[in-house]
């Protein structure tokens, strides 16, 4: 195997544990395409992005080794930039800076100013010991002997001042400790040896003509070495690298504090670590609970399907607790993997929560260990009613957020007439303004403004077809959630249940396949007080059943992709509905 890949694989393997990710503040990693072998990586402790670049591989009598260049690309607004070179600043002000960071190994000339140090990996030939070494300057300094001025004579860098001067070793150490923790975890053993070496190094400088000069000031190169393996092999490998003996784990007092207190001495055994109160935060195994609310037809099912696929592709389960007003849980049939759905029978979640929900969640956890539980409140539910109950679920699940979908087309009108719709917006931590493709820019802006006025704290995202990467909405790490405690939100709002708002639902069934034209004619005849109509029907001349979706005058038929074994049905929901056209259609097909 490629030696650089060893290092990568230990990171990948350790990151299989969510606990590990939380412990080290892992934010992810990506491959750099089309260039020299390289990866980018992000950690919670710093706002920028690390780059790892395979620079050299070698073999000697004792071991195989590889050198990996370490880069740090600060965030565009990170104060650190003011202490980095002009070239670094120039790169960071380009519009495509972050996109270029993703592919930094394709244009290394641009990346050079961001190089902070190197990590090397050494594997004993008989594979009984492994070492990593990080090498970086204590501070990366380069002096501009003649300074830099603008054409109008203002000093950007004073004469003899450093063009760059930043703590390269500290930035290197952050990533080195994560790599170390990953190796301990993959090898299931803690390091057997550690050493730090310091060597003086000249501080370089340049004249304005580009001549290199040395100052009498010196800098320090710091090299940290960690070795894993059987004692004798580890000692031999360490000696080979250092030409002297290294410290053993019991010599903690002789180690720098940051090393002595590092996680890498403990991550080989996450079980033991989990019983340590100091790290309890990382071992929270409760599933995240998302309350999904939104008015009828706003796109909740579409959004849910995406959430399901996002997690399924990561081998994770999403459990959905939903119920519908009406006698048929339609969405249960529309969602993939419909046995992940536990429907709560008696009417609306918001009205009959007590006791049922925690039982539902218990069952789900036992059966599937879901990563996320979505409580899909019916479009007619008031989320404030749910929030009060959620507090009792804390031991079972971690409330992530209330996510509300809003249909941009009819939201203004709904907000004018429905307190429940209003409350769904007010209670939200995340609002998805959906169907933005169907409204003008002006309508969009005015709705955005209205939503913002109703709810000043929610994150509002504009979507079409409810398409959004869930990772942009839900941070995998609860400790970064900055949503204020929902439960402190006003529960004194007047709370409506849907019966009070005059909503009713009615279900129609059809024994025979429907004629497509007749169905569309019927849908066109429906009065505007039908808010929402959903169902699955068989049509004559079509192999596959059709999913019927109707919201406020717009209808859409799409293939279910298979035959529908049950009886065709449509459920209509609205206020004071005149449903005679549907009744006639039912009459004609029984």
């Amino acid at each position: 195997m490629d030696t650089p890949v060893l290092l990568l694989n230990s990171l990948l393997a350790a990151c299989r544990h969510n606990e590990f990710k939380r412990l080290v503040g892992w934010k992810g990693m990506a491959v750099c395409p089309r260039g020299t072998v390289a990866w980018t990586m992000k950690l919670r402790c710093r706002p920028g992005v690390y780059g790892l670049l395979a620079e050299a591989t070698g073999v000697d009598e004792l071991s195989r080794n590889a050198k990996i260049g370490l880069y740090y690309f600060p965030a565009e607004d990170e104060p650190l930039l003011e202490h980095m070179s002009l070239a670094a600043n120039l790169a960071a002000t380009q519009a495509d800076y972050i996109a270029r960071v993703r592919t930094f190994s394709t244009s290394l000339e641009r990346a050079v100013p961001f190089r902070i140090g190197a990590v090397s990996i050494h594997l004993l030939r008989n594979e009984t010991a492994l070492a990593i070494q990080a090498q970086a300057l204590d501070r990366k300094i380069c002096i501009a002997k003649d300074g830099v001025t603008t054409e109008s004579g203002e000093w950007v860098i004073a004469r003899g001042a450093p063009e760059e001067d930043f703590p390269a070793h500290d930035i290197t150490t952050d990533v080195f400790l994560v790599i170390g923790a990953a190796i301990s975890n993959s090898l299931a053993s803690s390091p057997a040896r550690y050493a730090r070496e310091k060597q003086p190094s000249m501080i370089p400088g340049y004249t304005r003509n580009g001549e290199r000069i040395h100052f009498d000031k010196t800098n320090t190169v710091i090299t940290d070495t960690l070795v894993w393996g059987e004692d004798d092999s580890a000692r031999r490998l360490a000696y080979n690298l250092l030409k002297k003996d290294a410290l053993t784990p019991d010599q903690v007092d002789a180690m720098p504090q940051i090393i002595a207190s590092a996680l890498l001495w403990k991550t080989h055994d996450l079980t033991t670590l989990g019983s340590d109160a100091e790290y309890a935060y990382a071992f929270d195994t409760r599933p995240r609970l998302i309350v999904l609310s939104g008015f009828l037809g706003a796109g909740k099912t579409t959004f849910l399907n995406q959430l399901l696929e996002y997690h399924a592709s990561r081998d994770e389960i999403v459990a959905i607790i939903q119920n519908e007003v009406g006698q048929t849980g339609v969405d249960g049939k529309l969602l993939e993997g419909d046995d992940s759905i536990v429907e709560i029978d008696e009417g609306c979640v918001c009205c009959t929560l007590a006791g049922n929900l925690s039982k539902g969640i218990e069952q789900l956890k036992t059966r599937f260990n879901p990563k996320v539980i979505v409580l899909e409140s019916t479009g007619l539910a008031n989320p404030f009613n749910i929030l009060k109950e959620l507090d009792t679920l804390r031991s079972l699940a971690r409330l992530d957020s209330v996510t509300t979908l809003v249909d941009a087309v009819n939201a203004q009108q709904l907000l004018d007439t429905s307190d429940i719709a209003m409350n769904q917006v007010k209670a939200a931590d995340i609002i998805l303004m959906n169907k933005c493709d169907l409204v003008s820019d002006q309508e969009r802006a005015s709705l955005f403004h209205r939503l913002r006025t109703l709810n000043s704290r929610a994150h509002i995202a504009e979507t079409e077809y409810a398409a959004i990467n869930p990772a942009t909405l839900y941070d995998a790490d609860p400790f970064e959630q900055d949503a204020p405690r929902l439960l402190s939100m006003s529960a004194s709002c007047p709370r409506h249940i849907h019966a009070m708002e005059g909503f009713t639902s009615r279900r129609f069934t059809f024994d025979a396949p429907l004629d497509r034209e007749a169905l569309i004619r019927t849908l066109d005849l429906l009065p505007s007080d039908v808010f929402r109509l959903k169902g699955i029907v068989s049509l004559t001349g079509h192999d596959h059943a059709q999913v019927v979706q109707y919201v406020a005058g717009r209808h859409e038929l799409s293939s279910l992709g298979r035959k529908f074994e049950d009886q065709s049905f449509l459920v209509a929901i609205g206020k004071n509905m005149n449903l005679s056209p549907l009744a006639a259609l039912q009459e004609a097909h029984t």
């Binding site: 003011e82 070179s85 670094a88 081998d315 260990n369």
Partner: protein, 388 residues
């Protein structure tokens, strides 16, 4: 002229540079950090493009892409056994179950219940295992037939993977005529993409018809996997793939990726084809290495016509690297970047993902959703795709 005090921020200064205003300034005073010295250590990007010949076309027949039929049962079983890191041989799934329940399986005990029936009486073996295993109706499998047409028009056949359920795979083999091809020894080799249950455990089904077929496995296979090859009735010596690139035929190469995969599996091998005048075609089982790694490795290490990526087939698993920027849709963007002309995806590519490809305007070949494949958005069971 001011004294030696910095009175303008670097950021403001270089923002001017971005618009070209101070580019001249840089040039006139030597950008210190741009000095030649800074570049002395840079590794040079080198494409080491191995010439592996060309072929005229490759036709892929999807024998089965439905690895299992119920995701919740599968994940539920894995969870019950202890999660994604548990050794797959302890999960207690057919055909290697011992009846002791979740997480308490062992390869030796499982295989001992059916070993004497392999590979000649698979029906009986599967019946026995159904009684011992969890969710015995869930297994399906992944397998495809590759027909490689050489420049002179001769066609050579290969199998990628051999599925999971004996019952399901045997019926799929019969449906596509694979059983007869194997009997006639028309198929030149079987490549196992990786050691996972749904790609590898159906091995006795191939052995039933041809127990000497050349067999290629990644060198990360565990001892249970190597033993299962013997226990399935294999009479040959498996080729342990230990090089990054192995040429199989003109215009056909096997690529090896060293990547840790869930449930204690290590490594995946995928295939690459160089189609004359068209470009490169990539074929994978699950693509656990991620499309970025796969494409990138091929780009750096292979020589192919027009220097163009032409087609891709198989499961497009999400990258193991988990991106650090959620706004970046790895799969969708990567496919776009490489400019494939023909995309045939299925298996672990969800159909919403396939839909996303279509929405992004990518040339995704649709399927017919037959034989329990779930969606027409991708190439389902029994569907074919020809590159070239």
């Amino acid at each position: 002229m001011s004294t030696n005090r910095n009175n303008i921020s670097r950021r403001d200064f270089v923002k001017g540079a971005a618009t070209g205003l101070v580019a001249g300034t840089f040039a006139s005073m030597g950008m210190y950090s741009y000095s030649p010295w800074a570049y002395s250590r840079l590794p040079k990007t080198q494409r080491n493009q191995q010439d592996f010949g060309t072929c005229r076309s490759v036709r892929v027949t999807n024998i089965s892409e439905t690895s299992w039929f119920n995701n919740a049962h599968l994940i539920g079983d894995i969870h019950e056994a202890g999660g994604l890191l548990v050794n797959q041989y302890t999960l207690n799934w057919a055909p290697l179950a011992n009846g002791k329940g979740s997480g308490k399986g062992s390869y030796e005990e499982g295989i001992s219940t059916i070993k004497d029936l392999l590979p000649h009486d698979l029906e009986k073996a599967w019946e026995i295992q159904k009684k011992l295993s969890l969710h015995p109706e869930n297994p399906g499998g992944y397998s495809c037939l590759l027909e490689v047409e050489a420049l002179d028009g001769t066609v050579r056949k290969f199998l990628l993977d051999t599925g999971w359920s004996y019952e399901w795979m045997d019926s799929c083999f019969k449906r596509e005529g694979i059983d007869q091809m194997l009997r006639d020894q028309e198929i030149e080799a079987l490549f196992i993409s990786h050691e996972h249950w749904d790609h590898f455990w159906g091995l006795p089904v191939t052995m039933k018809y041809d127990n000497r077929i050349p067999l290629y496995v990644h060198d990360g296979f565990y001892k249970e996997g190597l033993q299962y090859i013997k226990d399935s009735g294999y009479k040959g010596e498996p080729v342990i793939v230990n090089k990054p690139v192995t040429q199989i035929a003109p215009g056909m190469a096997l690529l090896k990726f060293d990547v840790p995969i869930i449930n204690r599996v290590f490594g995946e091998t995928s295939l690459a084809f160089n189609i004359k005048d068209k470009g490169l075609v990539l074929v994978s089982g699950c693509n656990h290495q991620g499309i970025l790694q796969f494409a990138d490795f091929a780009f750096t290490n292979l020589k192919y016509d027009n220097d163009k990526f032409y087609g891709i087939y198989g499961g497009l698993h999400i990258s193991p690297f988990e991106d650090w920027d959620p706004k970046y849709d790895d799969l969708v963007i990567a496919l776009g970047q490489w400019g494939f002309e023909l995309i045939g995806c299925n298996h672990c590519t969800g159909h919403l993902t396939a839909k996303k490809f279509v929405e992004a305007g990518y040339p995704v070949v649709r399927g017919t959703a037959r034989f329990r494949s779930a969606s027409e958005d991708y190439l389902g069971n029994g569907d074919k795709i020809t590159f070239g």
